[in-house]
């Protein structure tokens, strides 16, 4: 039997189960009178009640405990199983305390004793329903909370993935200082995490755009994409919307690439047609902006994944682009600085070693890496009276500042050296050029081939090595701390007497400091390498030393190596080749004197041969090459009776003019007796011959 209550939104259904028809009649009325918004259903047996309970979620259930067939306690257990949240009240007989306790133990919300106190009954029922309501709200809040937690966890997972992605990107970006390699790696990283296809492009200085990398999630399609794109080189019209992003510096997000959208771009969107051919569905193009300039773009496209980009994806793409742009900008700045430093440093190393008669020299420079430029330098220059200046230096650090200090030290050293300052005086003056925080090691030697002596000052540089012709080698020890190490340094001069034909070897620490080996090992290896074949050609020597000492695995430092040897003059023969410039004349006279001394020529003969040769060479310098560069060559042969000198050039003589007007040639003829001048298209030869005066004893 169902007693219908007026339909209300808040109507709450209560089920009343009892075998007593009087109660089934009376109780609903009593409840209806006392409670708002409830409607009561009645059942006269537990069996029927269970059927209803299975169908309807009642707000509360009231059941008599004593019923024929299934009793109230059994029904309670069944309700607990079926609807654990539904509060159930049991009606017990008067004084049936045991049953009441059983009911409560069985999960009843309350028990109502007969005779029924209606006020108590209603109050209990209302409490039961409120409790149920609270429970429901609590469950709802719990569910909401769980949902929120789950959402948050999801967000955290996504953010973590993004951060991981950006962290991976940052690692790539900081790993390389090569902007193109960086962009290639970024494209590889973006697929498939952020895109199915990724195309990175750089704007060139001439306004053209070059695609740096094209990546597709499927290798076979990548080939196809590349081929398709190759057909369409970047074109400001055809490459919309890339061109727009480049021009405006504003990112573009197209969640859905529709045919209409493509049509809207105009007729020439070849690039996008390509993407469309490969089934792309969604698109993001972000500009690479650094310091207000758009350096290029990254295009992300989806296809197979059928993913549609959102604003979140755009934010991630923009963040990636921002970092990439910074890295590229840094790489370019670095590249620029490296190029400047390299140019500066290379310009400081002699293009070719000066030709100094009677001296053989060879030098090598090995850069540790193409990326960074070290501060190593060497120098070799002639000084007055046939002496030679040798320099090997190493400014601590790398880059433009180091190269600039190197340039300063090199020029200052040359200037002081030519002024005639001693090695110690030069070093003392160079120490004043060093700013706080700067440091350089430097060794400066003055070598006199005539006496085979060296004077030198060493500021913290590895010791030069002197190798006698028989292979005996010794380091030229002694020195002071590096330039910049002390505020008031004091430098002293050292000197050494060398065997004739000694090879001097100067080098930077990069040669002897091989990773994983001590400096002493390096010094010993160097010693061994030069001692094994001391007299070979200097070019071969320096190559062999480089190979043996570094053992093909140079350390992290640049290596500079300079070798010098004074040749022992052959009394029978003389040969030098020099640049045809006035500065060559003193050098020529010096080596001619050494030669004639070796050939025991008397002073008068020596002087006259000297004047004759220099006259011929002066003519070459003045007349053979004009303003162009060129060489002159002097050959001599001497026997006991006769001397023959040949001066030749590779220029074209012009008629004598200027100061001398043929006086030189007349002088040569007076001094040498037999003089032949042979002009040829490829140069002129002056042959001079005379008998030697016999040495008067």
């Amino acid at each position: 039997m169902i007693v219908e209550a007026p339909e209300r939104v808040s109507t709450k259904l209560i089920l009343l189960v009892d075998d007593d028809p009087v109660l089934l009649q009376a109780l609903p009325e009593a409840l209806q009178l006392r409670m708002d918004g409830v409607s009561i259903e009645t059942c006269d047996s537990a069996g029927r009640a269970l059927q209803r309970i299975a169908e309807v979620d009642y707000e509360a259930i009231v059941t008599d405990i004593k019923m024929p067939g299934t009793d109230g306690l059994t029904l309670l257990a069944q309700i607990r199983a079926l609807r654990p949240d539904t509060p159930t009240l049991l009606i017990t007989g008067h004084g049936e305390h045991d049953l009441a306790v059983q009911a409560l133990r069985g999960g009843a919300y309350d028990f109502i004793q007969k005779p029924i106190d209606r006020e108590y009954f209603v109050a209990s029922l209302i409490r039961a329903m409120q409790a149920r309501q609270y429970k429901r709200q609590l469950d709802e809040q719990q569910r909401t909370l769980e949902q929120r937690t789950s959402d948050l966890e999801q967000t955290v997972r996504e953010r973590t993935r993004e951060l991981q992605f950006l962290a991976d990107a940052s690692r790539i970006l900081t790993a390389s200082l090569d902007s193109e390699a960086t962009l290639r790696s970024i494209a590889r990283l973006a697929v498939p995490r952020l895109a199915d296809m990724c195309i990175t492009s750089l704007a060139e200085s001439d306004g053209q755009v070059r695609r740096v990398e094209v990546v597709h999630a499927e290798p076979s399609k990548e080939q196809r994409l590349r081929k398709l794109l190759e057909r369409y080189p970047f074109n400001a019209v055809a490459s919309e919307p890339t061109a727009t992003v480049l021009r405006t510096g504003q990112a573009l997000l197209v969640p859905e690439i529709s045919a209409e959208w493509i049509r809207g771009l105009g007729d020439h969107t070849e690039e996008l047609s390509v993407a469309r051919t490969l089934g792309s569905t969604s698109l993001i193009i972000v500009p690479l902006v650094a310091r207000g300039r758009t350096l290029g773009v990254i295009a992300f496209l989806t296809a197979e994944s059928n993913r549609h980009y959102t604003r979140d994806d755009l934010a991630l793409a923009e963040e990636l682009a921002r970092r990439a742009a910074l890295a590229i900008d840094n790489a370019r700045l670095y590249e620029q600085e490296r190029r400047i430093a390299e140019t500066l440093q290379r310009s400081l190393l002699p293009q070719r070693l000066p030709l100094i008669p009677g001296l053989a020299a060879a030098a090598r420079y090995l850069a540790a890496s193409p990326e960074a430029v070290g501060g190593d330098w060497y120098d070799l220059f002639p000084l007055p009276r046939g002496t030679v200046g040798l320099v090997m230096g190493d400014v601590a650090g790398r880059g433009v500042r180091v190269a600039a200090l190197m340039a300063e030290l090199r020029s200052a050293l040359r200037a002081y050296a030519v002024e005639g300052y001693s090695p110690a005086e030069v070093m003392q003056r160079l120490a004043l050029l060093i700013e706080p925080g700067e440091m350089a090691t430097l060794v400066y030697l003055i070598f006199d081939p005539a006496t085979q002596t060296v004077r030198f000052t060493n500021a913290g540089h590895p010791p030069p090595l002197a190798v006698a012709p028989d292979g005996r080698a010794s380091y030229l020890e002694g020195g002071a701390p590096p330039l910049g190490a002390l505020r008031m340094p004091s430098y002293h001069e050292q000197s050494a007497q060398l065997w004739p034909g000694t090879t001097l070897l100067l080098y930077t620490d990069g040669l002897i400091e091989v990773r994983g080996a001590s400096i002493d090992d390096g010094l010993a290896r160097l010693h061994h390498a030069v001692a094994s074949a001391p007299a070979e050609d200097l070019d071969e020597l320096v190559d062999r030393v480089l190979g043996e000492v570094t053992r093909g695995r140079p350390g992290g430092d640049d290596v500079a190596l300079l070798a010098l040897r004074a040749e022992i003059p052959d009394p029978a023969r003389f040969h030098v080749r020099l640049p045809a410039v006035p500065a060559s004349l003193p050098m020529l006279r010096h080596s001619l004197r050494r030669w004639m001394e070796a050939a025991q020529t008397n002073d008068e003969d020596a002087y006259e041969i000297l004047v004759a040769c220099c006259e011929a060479c002066s003519n070459v310098i003045e007349h053979a090459y004009g303003a162009a560069d060129g060489d002159l060559e002097v050959r001599g042969t001497m026997t006991d009776q006769e001397v023959e000198m040949i001066v030749r050039d590779w220029g074209r003589w012009r008629p004598p003019r200027g100061l001398n007007r043929g006086r030189g040639l007349r002088l040569i003829e007076e001094l040498m007796r037999h003089v032949t001048v042979t002009p040829r298209p490829d140069g002129t030869t002056v042959q001079m011959r005379r008998t030697r005066r016999q040495v008067t004893v």
């Binding site: 003193p586 006279r589 002073d603 006259e608 002066s618 003045e622 001398n660 006086r663 007349r666 007076e670």
Partner: protein
């Protein structure tokens, strides 16, 4: 390497004495010329060029001496050279007949006699 010819200058009885030390050649003759011309005041009777410390001299040096002699002749001043007997450069000066134009003296005192 350009060697600057060091020209030492002293004065004796109103006559400037210039002594180039080292070598005079194509590389430094212009520098040397400038230094020699600068040492002769208009009031001086002339110039003594003391070549005793000169270790090399070729036709450029010869030309310089002849040019100097010509300039001084125009300004009514005299040039005298000091070339020691044993000097290696004497032969070059004789071969180029510098002695026909400029008197060669064996010592500085001899040269100064020319201005008495």
């Amino acid at each position: 390497m350009t060697v600057t010819a060091m020209v030492k200058v002293i004065e004796r009885g109103g006559v400037p004495i210039a002594a180039p030390e080292g070598e005079i050649d194509l590389a430094n003759v212009a520098d040397c010329r400038a230094q020699l011309i600068a040492v002769v005041p208009n009031t001086a009777p002339g110039l003594v060029v003391d070549l005793s410390q000169t270790t090399y001299l070729d036709s450029r040096g010869v030309h310089l001496i002849l040019e100097l002699a010509e300039r001084l002749r125009v300004s009514q001043q005299q040039l005298a050279l000091v070339v020691p007997e044993r000097s290696v450069i004497r032969r070059v000066l004789l071969l180029t007949q510098v002695d026909q134009t400029v008197p060669l003296h064996r010592t500085l005192d001899d040269a100064l006699q020319q201005f008495q």
